[in-house]
Symmetry: C2
Subunit: 76 residues, 2 copies
Amino acid sequence: MKVRVDVMLKTGVLDPQGEAVRHALGNLGFEGVEKVRQGKVIELDVAEGTSEAQIKDMCEKLLANTVIENYAIQVL
Amino acid sequence: MKVRVDVMLKTGVLDPQGEAVRHALGNLGFEGVEKVRQGKVIELDVAEGTSEAQIKDMCEKLLANTVIENYAIQVL
């Protein structure tokens, strides 16, 4: 079973990495890039029958820092 | 206009970060996690009318290392 977890910084949390990308795009001549946020994707191959609650538990305990990050689980 | 770019390591390219996550999940007692791949998501706010070709150009030039990474563009 394939599961995809997206982890993004919460709104309002500064994202220096995204800001660096925005700046670099501007330097490369790409205009009109107003905002960039960078996050991570984690693709997991888990055993059939793994519950969404278990995946959520993985996110809370390891994959995301829930103080500053939101996560979204998607079963593929 | 919101655009989302997913950047993942190509199949066959070693992913030590994903491997570390897999290992850590095992140590936390989560069983049945067979494989983990980690990539990044970049969310861009670009000016209306930015063409997909321009976004592709951004990926090729900055967002992805096309030697080892694949990217996928999604206009939201």
